[in-house]
């Protein structure tokens, strides 16, 4: 018996629509088994993970807060992946954006700087992230170095840079030697939308980014070129598209969005620069991008769903003593199922029962 793939005559649109749902279903089944193996009741564990956060207002806001960086980063990543450029260093671009924006917050600390500080910080974050994202892109188009490896290596470098800054030059003198900057001034802080709530302006920015991404991909020539370069490089060459320039553009946008997400996170929910500002947003956003089918609306939904797993994971740890790593396992398994189900769009899976002799020749 063996599994054989049969190419479909054309992409199955029906499956393209339901495949993320199948993937989520299969992931939930797998998770139930994992919960049972950990000695927890699967039904109540899944309830704590996926239902409880949805029924209380504070958690709902928290989901939107966590989804904000995920969605912003994933929109940028989707551009890269559509152009067949593999930016996997969004985590580093996120951190550099946070560092670049925080520089202004630290420098203006305690001065009577006006309300221009926050917009300038967001701009700096975006520019910092974009420049950092351009490093692997330039290494790729200029020297042919694998952008996968260089962008990933830069994550570690960014992490160490942030660590150096908050332990060294930017450390809060009144911070009892903790590696953190002082709390940002009010003018350097992302305002909350509802007084006393958690939801902040970043959520609105994320929605604008989703809309801009949708317009870019569906309505502009550049968006079209990005899709063609990834899907049909030969056709792109005949069309006279400059694929190198498009890769640079995709990385720059992706880095800018990750960087802005970074400074929003620091100037918003966190309030100061410190190590560990990201629970792996840059990597989880890769899953968000694929689960959302590299489509802006899909990414918005996927981002909210992945944010739910972060919140659910925290609650499950408190309520049921389920280790936090289960969330990462969940996210990894989910990505596997998403990718496997995507294969169904192009292929039919068939189990073939053949005699050993034939199967040896055919495999």
């Amino acid at each position: 018996m063996q599994l054989v793939l049969e190419k479909r005559a054309e992409r199955s649109n029906a499956i393209a629509l339901i495949s993320p749902l199948i993937a989520i279903g299969l992931t939930l089944v797998t998770m139930s088994i994992l919960f049972a193996m950990l000695g927890k009741n699967p039904i109540s564990a899944l309830g704590v993970y996926f239902i409880d956060p949805l029924v209380d207002g504070y958690s709902l806001q928290e989901i939107a807060v966590k989804a904000t960086p995920l969605v912003m980063i994933a929109i940028g990543l989707s551009l890269c992946y559509l152009a067949n450029a593999w930016n996997i260093g969004a985590e580093g671009q996120f951190l550099i954006g946070a560092v670049a924006g925080s520089w202004l917050a630290v420098k203006t600390q305690g001065t009577d700087a006006g309300p221009w500080v926050l917009p300038a910080m967001l701009l700096l974050g975006a520019v910092g992230g974009a420049l950092y994202g351009l490093i692997p892109a330039i290494c790729k188009v200029r020297f042919g170095a694998s952008e996968i490896l260089t962008s990933l290596m830069l994550v570690y470098v960014a992490d160490l840079l942030l660590d150096y800054l908050v332990r060294g030059p930017w450390r809060d003198p009144k911070g009892f030697n903790f590696p953190t900057t002082a709390e940002f001034d009010p003018v350097a802080t992302v305002p909350v939308l509802i007084e006393g709530g958690r939801l902040h302006l970043g959520g609105v920015i994320a929605l604008v980014v989703v809309a801009a991404g949708a317009v870019l991909l569906a309505k502009t020539i550049k968006g079209f070129e990005i899709r063609v370069v990834g899907a049909a490089p030969r056709a792109a060459r005949f069309g006279g598209f400059n694929s190198n320039q498009l890769i640079l553009l995709a990385f720059a946008i992706s880095g800018a969005l990750a960087g802005m997400a970074g400074i929003i996170e620091v100037a918003g929910p966190v309030g100061h620069l410190q190590p560990g500002i990201s629970p792996g947003y840059g990597f989880t956003a890769i899953i968000v991008a694929f689960l959302g089918r590299l489509n802006p609306i899909g990414i918005l939904i996927a981002g909210l769903f992945l944010a739910l797993t972060f919140i659910g994971g925290e609650q499950a740890q408190i309520a049921m003593k389920i280790p936090l790593d289960v969330t990462k396992v969940f996210q990894g398994i989910l990505l596997f199922f998403v990718l496997a189900c995507d294969s169904l769009i192009l292929y039919r899976f068939k189990l073939v029962f053949a005699s050993p002799k034939v199967s040896r020749g055919a495999h």
Binding site: W86, V157, L160, T327, A362
Partner: protein, 305 residues
């Protein structure tokens, strides 16, 4: 023991996990499969390797657990990319994300525990030779194993018929298939070999490098191993040079931190990663005439029936 001797011993120890993982990945890539999940397989190998050794009290059982874990992880990858024709880059990333989570889950109950490290070879007389004795005859078994593995892989790839077929599958899967070779099966074994090596490389860290398990202890070594394969131009011999160079960078930056060189310790810690980027750029630049990578590397193969 002199300082130079100590440094060389430390370099060999730091290089061995890189060499083990890179050797496995080299075979995988020579068969045409790009498995980016080395880091994930390594970190699960580290957790299972430590767990096995801690529960059984035996380094060998620990190493076997690490190898087994690496193979199981690689089988998921093989099922996805070879069985279901999924994009190899995305699957490799998924494997790493899953591996980091799994290792945390498996390793959480071992955090804070300690084991005794793998013993070092001791041959009376030979090991006692000044300067070179400890370096040549006083390593742990993994160091010798990793070198034997490279020689074995070189012999396999260039001196055996099966090795030739494996390289053919990696250079042109359609032709290899037309000649009647089972491309997907060859690739599956290559992926499993890569998984075994990555699992062993991960297990090396808690078994022979630091006697405990900490989450994320591979610290990007799997990714550096991937870069080493590019550095080596997919040639086993150059892998040894590359791995030892990187091991040297790692150890020298540690020593430099100890000597209190006037630069931030974080900059020194970033050196191995920065060196990887610089090396990748230099190697890729030098190779503008034509790539030495296996021609079918990373491409999906679905055999026609």
């Amino acid at each position: 023991m002199g300082l130079i001797e100590a440094i060389i011993l430390a370099v060999l120890a730091a290089s061995t996990p890189l060499l083990l993982a890179a050797t496995g990945e080299l075979v995988t890539e020579r068969a045409g499969v790009l498995n980016l999940g080395v880091e994930g397989m390594m970190i699960v190998g580290a957790a299972c390797g430590f767990g096995g050794a801690w529960l059984s009290g035996s380094v060998i059982i620990g190493a076997l657990c690490g190898i087994g874990a690496g193979v199981l992880m690689s089988l998921i990858f093989a099922l996805m990319t070879l069985g279901l024709a999924v994009n190899q880059v995305a699957t490799g990333l998924a494997l790493t994300i899953l591996g980091v989570g799994l290792s945390g889950l498996i390793g959480s109950r071992f955090v804070g525990e300690k084991i005794s490290l793998a013993p070092h070879l001791y041959i009376p007389g030979l090991t006692d030779i000044p300067l070179v004795g400890r370096i040549l005859f006083g390593e742990d078994a993994f160091v010798y194993l990793s070198l034997a593995l490279v020689i074995g892989v070189w012999f396999f790839l260039y001196k055996t018929r099966t090795g030739l077929i494996l390289r053919a599958a990696g250079d042109n899967h359609t032709s290899a298939r037309a000649l009647g070779y089972p491309v997907l099966r060859i690739r599956m074994f290559a992926v499993m070999f890569g998984g075994a090596c990555a699992g062993l490389a991960g297990a090396y860290l808690p078994l022979a490098y630091t006697p405990f398990f900490i989450p994320g202890m591979t610290a990007g070594r799997g990714w550096i191993a991937l870069a080493l394969v590019v550095f080596a131009s997919w040639l086993p011999g150059r892998l040894v040079i590359g791995a030892y160079l990187f091991g040297a960078v790692t150890i020298l930056q540690l020593h430099a931190q100890g000597w209190g060189v006037g630069v931030p310790s974080q900059l020194m810690s970033a050196l191995p990663y920065l060196a990887t980027i610089i090396v990748l750029v230099l190697i890729s630049r030098a190779r503008t005439g034509g790539s030495t990578a296996p021609a079918a590397l990373g491409t999906v193969f679905v055999p026609d029936r």
